[in-house]
Subunit: 117 residues, 2 copies
Amino acid sequence: MANQLTQLTGVFSALADPTRRAIVGALGRGPTSVSVLAEPFDMALPSFMKHLSVLERSGVIRSSKSGRVRTCELRPKPLSQAEAWIARQRAVWETRTDRMSALVEQLHQEDFDRGRP
Amino acid sequence: MANQLTQLTGVFSALADPTRRAIVGALGRGPTSVSVLAEPFDMALPSFMKHLSVLERSGVIRSSKSGRVRTCELRPKPLSQAEAWIARQRAVWETRTDRMSALVEQLHQEDFDRGRP
């Protein structure tokens, strides 16, 4: 449980940056070398590597080196856990608003039954 | 578009903290006064108020004051936008892995048709 809390914090923190979200978007299309991944970004390589490092520490991506080429790939599970966390909050909220709507409907019906429009 | 980028950054940043996620969880059950909301947290009120302020700036919650009581409530739209962003990344990733599975299946079938088990 503590691990999952830490992981959620890491994942949300990793996504709290437009460059890192763009990297996640690019890696959705498949594993990519760091140099190809960095190309569209107007950013010095060390800054770009820092973003990759934040993403890798959060578990959202992983990288491996073959010869001189480092390749990054998406790990979908941490993203799914973050999505599931938000979905759970939405479910609680929606259940409550559904119950409130039902209650309002019931009160209207009771007024109507008593002949008070 | 720029606004939505900023908003997503704010929402993910707001969720990158276990106390703030717990506040979101509590507010899913309905609008709550700050004092009731703060009760379960072992935290000085000014620190707690800072967390509320981060959540409010991100748009995830809003608060209003009536007399001496400040009440917070959840605003579900920013959370839904963050959830939708993750869902879109997952859709891209799943489409790719489905295509890859189909390709592997096709190659196996071609080998089989040529009599190479």
